[in-house]
Amino acid sequence: MPDQILNVDNLSKSFAGVRALQGVNLTMERGEIRCLVGENGCGKSTLIKVIAGVVQPDEGTVTLNGRQYRQIRPIDAIREGIQVIYQDFSLFPNLTVAENIAFNYNLARKKQLVNWRDINRIAREAIAKIGVDLDLGAYVEDLPVADKQIIAICRAISQSARLVIMDEPTTALTEKEVRALFNIIKTLQREGIAILFVSHKLNEVLEISEKITIMRNGRNVTDGNTAGFDRASLVKHMTGREINETNAAIVPQAGNGSVPLLQAENLSCRGRFADVSFSLAAGEIIGITGLLGSGRTELALSLFGIRPADAGTISIEGRPAEIRSVQDAVRHGIGYVPEDRLIEGLFLERSIGSNIVAGTLRRLTRRGLINRAAVGAQIRQWTENLHINTPSTELPVKSLSGGNQQRVVLAKWLAINPKILIMNGPTVGVDVGSKAEIHQIIRDLARQGIGVIIISDDLPELLQNCCRILVMRKGRVLEELPTEGLSEADLTHRLSATAPAPASGTPAHSGQRKQVRPS
């Protein structure tokens, strides 16, 4: 068995004249954990797709286990033990855990009949191999994200994977689930399986990997042992410029004025959260964090009128406010930047312009008809103010990168002239450069007197921008911490201290963590 599993040599690929990959090299050996990092659009995804045989390269070769390929087909990649776990996991929600794990195994052997005993055995073996505990008969749609990921990993190793490529595996995971995933990765490594870990989250990259490959604009700019990098040098290589992430840490301004902008008292919503009280002043940025299912998203949805609270009071600028629908929330000047930008935030096929004015069309009419001049002016104003980078606002919003898409969502809300902005995961899936700029925008908004609530897993993000952080668990606010003097280690500790760790290495998957989706 050759030790070198993968060798990518001088790979190039263009799409309609745009070079996605230019002379990229990458080598992976048995049992190696390597991280592939780079901003959105740097060519990471294209590279993965070439290795998996989904996209054919224009130039260069890929050598798998010593065999050189010019054109790899997906089936070749699978036979060579290359398994890619995409962000959506590609699982069948209506099938059980065992079926999902063993299905491909059966397919690969062209079995016509299903042997249920085999299916269960294969699934059990795969699960035992990575040392977790899962109910084989459970339906995948009922399981939390972390378990889905474990299933995808099990499916990969049940097909005798030699190299597992994970595309942004931690995006939807909580701190604790990430720990569990890292344990699994270490277990796979001991089995001699190589891992290519693609991620935005630099702390994780530095922690889990042994080697790092950094890509920028379709080239690999640097390659080396993880020990030779730190956060700053990673960012520098990724963006090609110096971004001082922490210069952000201006002292967050506390709110002014004696009457709080938003005051929530004993808010409760059965089965979602209970007895939540907090206040937000004009110009203040506060953070809410907690594990998935802690009720943080549910609280936001209720403040925004999607799923109104059934007890407690909300007052805005000292006056009691009844928020029973999104329309009520908007009327009170509350905007909500949702967690899932693609589904909840954007009209992907429609133009950038029409996304920006989607919430304000009613205000831009004259004699019952849409006032085209006013619409155009508003689109122009926000495109410029938020530096939305596009050749034309007539292009569909799906043509934009993650960071620019998030700006469009923001623009839509700023157009209603909000007093309060709730942002759920404001920089999820956004590259480092855009992230810093979005943080800057948020701080500018606060400076103009908007009260901002940031809901996030990203602790540095909260620490850099917020003046107070509410820690939620099981639908309750456990603590309210001022960020001044609070370190990331402190906050991590407090988060995990509030959630006693279950048996080591076993990700918890009790029902309480199941994320409740808005209807």
């Binding site: 309609a16 745009v18 995804s45 009209f347 429609r350 689109i379 980078n389 292009l395 990168s401």
Partner: protein, 362 residues
């Protein structure tokens, strides 16, 4: 979407589907004219098409607006017949023998108003079932289609209602200059309908809701009211179609034009309306309708297959629909594979585009 009206040529090149439709219509026109100039290329043939087209066009628009929101309205023909029957009965019952002109006008006005109100009410019932109760549009309107048709059958006991006043028949058979009155009415309504879709908040918001109802909700649009209004407009158009039908045929029947429903869907899809919601133009719909009307008139005239001409018509419509869809889907697929060339973001979107196409297929 918000820029100034483009010139005709740029409009055609911008929307491939419309260019294609225009080509198809012209192609059919030319072929039929060459094959049978004596019959096809005559004033009387075009006149007969001009009388048949409007009622069908109104029903097609009624179904189109539902399709734009991602729904469908199978009950459009049922609404048209119910409106027609009630309006016809009103005119017959309440116009006394030897009534004066003003009396007749008054009753006709009342009957027309009744037909339209009935249409709007029926539409509101659809909108309520779909938007509030949450029944899928295809099932809700399947139910109401049966319901509305059933009511018409009970009222008429299955017989045709005959003998409408001449003044009313003018709307279905008269001419102004050389133009048939129903065609003129249709043109006015089509222009108003296009205005509603493109220039009003309601129109734009229903496109947004059709594109992504979840995002619409999270943007603060009132999906229920939008759905209600959509189906009310749909019902109004159906009601108007019903009035036009009885004015043209001088009779109201509970089961008139049953094949219109599916044909209207054919026309809408061919005209570029996305059955998943969020996209479609009135001009596309009208062009598709004209192409298919040319085809059916042509086939009737050519006596293709002798007495089987009507069977052939169905077959040809089917073939045309499938061809158009195959071309459109292949085209969309091709475009999804090659990223858009314009823009500084082209590079950034590349992997995303491919991933998006992959996940969209699930």
């Amino acid at each position: 979407m918000f820029d100034k009206l483009p010139s005709i040529t740029s409009f055609i090149s911008r929307d491939r589907n419309i260019g294609r439709l225009l080509g198809v219509a012209l192609f059919i026109l030319i072929i039929l004219s060459i094959l049978n100039p004596g019959l096809f290329l005559t004033v009387s043939n075009f006149k007969s098409m001009a009388y048949q087209l409007p009622e069908f066009g109104l029903l097609a628009m009624a179904i189109m607006i539902a399709l734009l929101t991602g729904g469908i309205d199978l009950s459009a023909v049922g609404i048209a017949n119910l409106s027609g029957v009630l309006a016809a009965l009103t005119m017959i019952r309440f116009i006394p023998q030897g009534a004066a002109g003003w009396q007749i006008t008054l009753v006709i006005g009342a009957a027309v108003a009744l037909g339209l109100v009935i249409g709007a009410i029926c539409g509101a019932i659809n909108g309520f079932l779909i938007g509030r109760i949450g029944i899928p549009a295809i099932l809700a309107t399947l139910g109401t289609m049966q319901l509305f048709t059933g009511i018409s059958i009970i009222i008429t006991k299955g017989y045709a209602v005959l003998g409408l006043p001449d003044a009313f028949l003018y709307f279905g058979n008269g001419t102004i200059g050389i133009f048939p009155v129903p065609l003129l009415i249709f043109i006015v309504i089509a222009v108003l309908f296009a205005l509603l879709l493109n220039k009003t908040t309601l129109g734009q918001e229903l496109f947004l809701m059709g594109t992504n109802p979840t995002a619409a909700k999270f943007t603060g649009l009132d999906n229920f009211r939008l759905t209600l209004k959509t189906y009310m407009v749909s019902g109004l158009l159906s009601g108007l179609a019903g009035l036009m039908i009885i004015a043209r045929t001088n009779s109201a029947k509970a089961d008139y034009g049953a094949s219109y429903t599916l044909q209207a869907i054919v026309v809408a899809v061919m005209g570029g309306v996305d059955p998943a919601g969020g996209a479609g133009t009135v001009i596309g719909l009208v062009l598709a309708m004209i192409s298919l009307q040319f085809l059916s008139s042509g086939f009737n005239m050519l006596r293709v297959g002798g007495s089987f001409s009507n069977y052939f018509r169905e077959l040809v419509w089917g073939v045309v629909l499938i061809l158009v869809m195959v071309i459109n889907y292949l085209d969309a697929k091709k475009r999804a594979r090659t990223p858009q060339e314009s823009g500084t973001d082209a590079k950034a979107q590349m992997p995303d585009t491919a991933a998006g196409a992959g996940s969209a297929q699930k």
